[in-house]
C-alpha cells in the first residue's frame, strides 16, 4: 500500500502552498485584496496540514502538525519592498506571475487530494475519504481564486 506516500506528498504540497500564499500576500501588500484574501486562504492550507498530520499515524507517518508560519523578519522585508514600489506599474506583471504560480500550485494540491480520495475509496477508509471531501473543495476554491484574479487584473496590466 502506498497511501503513505500520497499522504506525505500532499502534506508537503499543502505546506508549500500555505507558505506561497503568505509570501505572495507579503510581496503584494499594497494590492490589498491579494494581501488579505491570500492570507485567509493560507489558513485553509494550514488547517489541511494539521488534519493530515492528525491522520498520519494510521499510516505510520509522523507529519509535522504546524504548517510554515510567516517569518516575521522576512515578511516585514517583503511588505516594505511592496510599499516602496507601490507607485510603480511593474509589480503588476510580477503579480500576474505570482498568481500564475499559485494557480499551478493549488491545481497540484487539488490533484493530490483527488488521488488520495481514490486511494481512500480503494482501501475503504471512510475517515480518510471524509477528510478529502472536506479539504479538496477548498483547494479548488484557492485555484479558482488565483484564476479569477488573473482574469480581473491582467487586462489593465497588459493594456497599459
Amino acid at each position: 500500500m502506498k497511501l503513505d506516500l500520497a499522504l506525505r506528498e500532499l502534506h508537503r504540497a499543502e505546506n508549500s502552498l500555505a507558505a506561497d500564499l503568505l509570501k505572495v500576500a507579503d510581496w503584494h501588500k499594497v494590492d490589498h485584496e491579494i494581501y488579505h484574501v491570500a492570507r485567509d486562504l493560507a489558513r485553509w492550507s494550514q488547517q489541511h496540514v494539521h488534519e493530515l498530520a492528525e491522520i498520519g499515524p494510521r499510516y505510520g507517518l509522523h507529519l509535522k502538525d504546524d504548517s510554515e508560519q510567516n517569518s516575521g523578519l522576512l515578511a516585514t522585508a517583503r511588505n516594505k519592498a511592496s510599499e516602496l514600489v507601490g507607485h510603480r506599474p511593474e509589480p503588476g506583471l510580477l503579480l500576474l506571475a505570482d498568481l500564475r504560480h499559485l494557480y499551478r500550485a493549488a491545481a497540484g494540491v487539488s490533484l493530490d487530494w483527488e488521488l488520495l480520495a481514490q486511494g481512500a475509496q480503494a482501501v475503504k477508509d471512510a475517515e480518510l475519504l471524509a477528510l478529502t471531501k472536506r479539504c479538496h473543495p477548498q483547494s479548488l476554491r484557492q485555484m479558482r481564486w488565483a484564476n479569477a484574479m488573473l482574469k480581473v487584473l491582467s487586462p489593465q496590466v497588459l493594456a497599459s
Binding site: E33, V37, D40, H87, R141, A148, P155, A159, S160
Partner: protein
C-alpha cells in the same frame, strides 16, 4: 396644525396604527423665517436627496428662490412626513460659497475660467490618453446623488462610447453589498420587499441598520406601529445603543467583525428547531443541505464566545425569527461595511428563503442603501455593472446592449467584472489610470486611509476632473473643477431603496454658470464627437426626458422595467415601484411573490461569486447549480477579522453617521440648524472603558490606528465595551488652514484599506484603535447629539435642541394623533 422642534424631536409626533391598517398621513412643512404660506408662488414636486428613503416632497418657490419644503401626503413612501435633514438642508442650495464658475489648474492654484476652456482641457487630455494608452487610461467615479438620466448617460459614455471598464460610484461605499447579496441569493439585483411591509410585519429584524438615523421617516412608520395596537417585535443587531436598540425586544451587540458567526448561530437554531418551511425550500431553492451542514458548526455557545454576547440571547432571537408569521428584515452598513459583508448579508436572505418569508405582505427583505439615488447607479450601470441588470458574463446580454446603443459588441468591456472603485484607486496609484473624473463625491474625506488617498489624488501623472457644488477637500487636487447644478435646479428621476421612482422637477435656476450634471456629460460627449455605428451622436438624447425615454428602452424586458412610467404619470401623483409595464401599470409592490425568481441562467444578472474568495462562478458552474431558476442558498464560514484589537490598539473602531448630517456635510454643514445640532467630530466610548482610563465626558483624546490619528472629544455613550465609534462626516473644509494641515479630524484617517472580496465594499467598521487622553474638557460635553445613538449615559449633558428656527409644522389629517 401644530409646531414641533424637529432638531429636538427628529421623528415628530406619533400617529399610531395597527397591523394591516393604513399608515396615517402627517404633512410636515418648514418655511424660511418670515415667509408665510401665501407668499409661496409655486410648490414644485421632488423627493429627498439627503438619505436613501425617497421621501416625496414639494419645494416652495417665492420669486426666484427656494423658501421651504413640505412633504407630499399622497405618496406611498412618507405620507407627508419629512426627515429633519430635508426640512433644513435645502438652505445649502443658496449658500454664498457655491461654485459658480469653472476652474482650471495654474501651477499650484486653481483659477477661474470659462466652460469652453475647462471642457477643452478635459477633451484634449482624454484624446491624448486614448491615443497613447487606450480606454484603460480613463476612469469615472460618480456618486449616489445624481439622477437616473445622468447615470445612464455616464454609463453609455464610459462603457459604450469610450469603452473603459473603469466606472464606479461612491455607492461602492454604501450599497454594493446590498446589490451583491441580492445577486448571490436571487442571481439578480432588485429589492425584494417594500416599505409597506412595516404595516403588516409581526417581527422586524434590523441588522446593522440604525434606521432611526439613516432613514428617519421609515423609523417614524415603525414607531407608529410600536405605538399602535398589536405592535411588532423588534430585533436589533448593533454594537451601539441606537434608538432602535432602545426600542427593541432583543438587542444583540456583537463584537465588530463577527456578523457571519452571529448569523450562522441564528440559522443553526432555526434549523435545529426545524422552524423551516421545507415545502417552500424544496419547491423554490437550491443549496439547503450545504447551509444546514455549515451552520451545524455554530451552536449558540460557540457563537456567544466569538461575538461576545450571551448565548441565551442568540436562542431567544432565533426563536422570535423562527416563529414569526410575517418577518421583515432590513440590513445596512453595520453589515455592509463590516468584515465578511456579503457573506453576512446573504445569511439574512437565507433566513427568509428557508422560512418562506418572501413576496407577501409583511414578509420581505430590505437590503438597504445609504444614498438617495444609489439604486439608479445599480440599474443604469454607473456602478460599473451593465445597464438593466444585464450580465457581463453572458454574451447575449452584451449583444443586446450593443444593439440598443447601436455599437459594436466588442466596444463594451465584458472580459472581466467592472473595475470597482478601490481597484481604480490602485490603478491610479500605479499610474495606469491617468484620467479620473469625479462627480458629486468627496473621496478625500470619504475613502479609507486618507493619507494614501491624498497621495494618489495629488499624483502629477493623474489628470483629475472634479464636478461638484462646493469647494471640497477633493477639489483641492483637481486639474479642472466644474460647477454643477443640484437638486431643485434641474429635472430628473430617481429611485429609492424600495424601488419607488420619483420625479424631481426644476424649481429655480442654478447659480452663476453652474450646469446640470446631465448637460455637462452630454457636452463632453458632443465635444468628443462620440458616434454610434450609423454616425449618429452617442448618446443620442439631449435633455432629461429624452434620456429617460432612452433608458426605458434599455430597461424593457429586464427586471427593472420602467416602460410603464412617464414623467407625466409621475407628476402630481405618488412615486411608482418598478417593474412598471403595460401589464403592471401601477408598478409592483413586492418581488418574488409565489417563489418566482429572475435567476434562470439565460436571464439572470449574475452567476454569483464565492463568498470567501470573491471569485465569480463560471457560467457552466451556475447552470449546473441552478438550472431552473430558483433562489440560491449560500453558506459561509466565519473568518476572523483582518485587523483585531491587540495590546497596542486595544479597541475595535467603527465609523458611521449621525441623524443630522449626510456624507461629508457639503450640504448639511451649510444648514444652520443641522450644523448646530452636531457641529464637530466626537468619539464614543462606554462608561467602563472611559473609567479605566479616567476619561470623563467631553475630555479630549487622541484616537490612533496604524494609519493615522485624530483628536476628538469623548461622548460616554451606551456603546458596547471594547468598541469606539467616530462619525465620518467631518473633514477639513470648515476649519482653519492651520488646523486642517495636521489632518487630525476625519475618521477615515484611521480606517483600514480592505474590502469585501465579493461586493468590493470597503470595510469601515472593523479596525483596531488606541485611545489616549490629551486634556480635560473642563465640563464641556462632546459636540454630539443627545437624542440619537450618541446619547450620553451620564446626567447633566444639555439636551439637543433646535429652538424657534427649527420649528416645523405638522398637519394631521383623518383625526390621527
Amino acid at each position: 396644525m401644530s409646531l414641533c422642534d424637529r432638531i429636538a424631536k427628529p421623528w415628530g409626533t406619533r400617529t399610531p396604527y395597527g397591523a394591516g391598517d393604513t399608515w396615517p398621513t402627517r404633512i410636515d412643512r418648514y418655511l424660511a423665517d418670515g415667509v408665510s404660506a401665501d407668499q409661496v408662488d409655486q410648490w414644485i414636486q421632488t423627493a429627498s436627496v439627503l438619505h436613501s428613503n425617497g421621501d416625496a416632497m414639494d419645494v416652495a418657490v417665492s420669486g426666484d428662490r427656494i423658501v421651504g419644503v413640505r412633504g407630499r401626503g399622497i405618496d406611498r413612501v412618507n405620507r407627508g412626513r419629512l426627515d429633519t435633514k430635508d426640512l433644513f438642508g435645502w438652505q445649502a442650495n443658496t449658500a454664498a460659497d457655491r461654485l459658480t464658475i469653472p476652474l482650471i489648474r495654474d501651477g499650484n492654484r486653481l483659477v477661474e475660467t470659462d466652460w469652453q476652456t475647462a471642457m477643452g482641457r478635459i477633451v484634449q487630455r482624454s484624446n491624448e490618453l486614448l491615443e497613447e494608452q487606450g480606454p484603460s487610461a480613463l476612469g469615472f467615479y460618480t456618486t449616489g446623488q445624481l439622477f437616473l438620466e445622468e447615470y445612464y448617460t455616464l454609463a453609455v459614455i464610459a462603457h459604450g462610447a469610450i469603452g473603459t471598464n473603469h466606472v464606479d460610484g461612491n455607492t461602492r461605499l454604501c450599497t454594493a453589498t446590498a446589490a451583491e447579496a441580492l445577486k448571490e441569493s436571487f442571481a439578480c439585483d432588485g429589492q425584494p420587499g417594500s416599505y409597506s411591509d412595516v404595516d403588516h410585519a409581526d417581527v422586524i429584524a434590523l441588522y446593522g441598520h440604525n434606521v432611526a438615523e439613516t432613514q428617519t421617516v421609515l423609523w417614524m412608520r415603525m414607531l407608529d406601529r410600536l405605538a399602535g395596537p398589536n405592535p411588532p417585535k423588534l430585533i436589533c443587531v448593533d454594537p451601539r445603543e441606537t434608538p432602535v436598540a432602545r426600542a427593541a425586544t432583543i438587542h444583540v451587540a456583537p463584537v465588530p467583525g463577527t456578523n457571519v458567526a452571529l448569523m450562522n448561530g441564528l440559522l443553526h437554531e432555526i434549523i435545529r428547531n426545524d422552524w423551516v418551511d421545507h415545502d417552500y425550500v424544496a419547491a423554490h431553492a437550491v443549496g439547503y443541505e450545504e447551509l444546514a451542514q455549515q451552520v451545524e458548526n455554530y451552536p449558540p455557545d460557540r457563537v456567544a464566545q466569538i461575538c461576545q454576547v450571551p448565548p441565551e440571547q442568540i436562542r431567544a432571537a432565533a426563536r422570535i425569527l423562527g416563529t414569526a408569521k410575517r418577518l421583515l428584515s432590513t440590513v445596512l452598513q453595520g453589515f455592509y461595511q463590516s468584515h465578511q459583508a456579503t457573506a453576512a448579508a446573504v445569511q439574512v436572505n437565507n433566513i427568509h428563503i428557508i422560512r418562506g418569508m418572501l413576496g407577501r405582505p409583511g414578509a420581505g427583505v430590505l437590503q438597504m442603501n445609504g444614498q438617495p439615488t444609489a439604486e439608479n447607479t445599480r440599474e443604469c450601470g454607473a456602478d460599473g455593472d451593465l445597464p438593466g441588470f444585464r450580465n457581463w458574463a453572458n454574451d447575449s446580454h452584451v449583444a443586446e446592449l450593443a444593439r440598443i446603443w447601436n455599437i459594436e459588441q466588442t466596444q463594451i468591456p465584458h472580459y472581466a467584472p467592472p473595475t470597482h472603485l478601490m481597484q481604480m484607486m490602485r490603478y491610479a496609484e500605479q499610474g495606469t489610470i491617468r484620467f479620473l473624473w469625479i462627480s458629486g463625491t468627496n473621496p478625500a474625506v470619504s475613502l479609507p486611509e486618507l493619507h494614501r488617498i491624498r497621495s494618489i489624488l495629488s499624483r502629477q501623472q493623474l489628470f483629475l476632473v472634479v464636478q461638484d457644488l462646493f469647494h471640497t477637500e477633493t477639489t483641492e487636487f483637481a486639474d479642472v473643477v466644474l460647477p454643477a447644478a443640484t437638486w431643485g435646479e434641474k429635472t430628473g428621476t430617481f429611485t429609492n431603496a424600495d424601488r419607488t421612482v420619483h420625479l424631481s422637477d426644476k424649481a429655480v435656476e442654478p447659480p452663476g454658470q453652474a450646469r446640470p450634471d446631465l448637460d455637462i456629460f452630454l457636452d463632453y460627449a458632443r465635444r468628443m464627437n462620440f458616434r454610434d455605428s450609423t454616425g449618429a451622436p452617442l448618446p443620442a438624447w439631449h435633455d432629461a426626458e429624452s434620456a429617460f425615454e432612452a433608458w426605458k428602452r434599455c430597461s424593457a424586458g429586464r427586471p427593472c422595467d420602467y416602460t410603464g412610467i412617464t414623467y407625466a404619470k409621475l407628476r402630481g401623483g405618488s412615486g411608482i415601484q418598478w417593474p412598471c409595464t403595460a401589464e403592471r401599470p401601477e408598478g409592483t409592490e413586492r418581488l418574488y411573490a409565489d417563489g418566482q425568481f429572475w435567476s434562470t441562467p439565460d436571464y439572470c444578472e449574475s452567476y454569483g461569486k464565492d463568498l470567501i474568495t470573491g471569485a465569480p462562478l463560471e457560467p457552466t458552474e451556475y447552470r449546473a447549480l441552478n438550472p431552473s431558476g430558483k433562489a440560491v442558498i449560500k453558506a459561509a464560514e466565519y473568518l476572523p477579522p483582518h485587523e483585531s484589537p491587540n495590546p497596542d490598539f486595544p479597541f475595535s473602531l467603527i465609523t458611521g453617521r449621525t441623524l443630522f448630517h449626510f456624507h461629508t456635510r457639503t450640504k448639511t454643514g451649510r444648514a444652520p440648524q443641522l450644523q448646530a445640532a452636531a457641529p464637530d467630530v466626537w468619539v464614543e466610548m462606554s462608561l467602563k472603558d472611559a473609567a479605566e482610563q479616567s476619561i470623563s465626558e467631553g475630555d479630549v483624546v487622541n484616537v490612533k490606528t496604524p494609519r493615522g490619528m485624530i483628536r476628538a472629544r469623548v461622548r460616554i455613550s451606551g456603546i458596547r465595551d471594547g468598541v469606539v465609534f467616530v462619525p465620518f462626516h467631518y473633514g477639513y473644509w470648515d476649519i482653519s488652514d492651520g488646523e486642517s494641515a495636521d489632518h487630525h479630524r476625519a475618521a477615515n484617517e484611521l480606517t483600514i484599506t480592505s474590502w469585501d472580496p465579493a461586493s468590493k465594499q470597503p470595510i469601515y467598521k472593523t479596525a483596531a484603535a488606541a485611545v489616549n487622553w490629551v486634556s480635560t474638557g473642563d465640563g464641556n460635553p462632546a459636540p454630539a447629539p443627545t437624542n440619537t445613538a450618541s446619547h450620553p449615559v451620564i446626567a447633566g449633558v444639555p439636551a439637543t435642541r433646535g429652538g424657534p428656527t427649527a420649528n416645523a409644522d405638522e398637519h394631521f389629517t383623518g383625526g390621527a394623533q
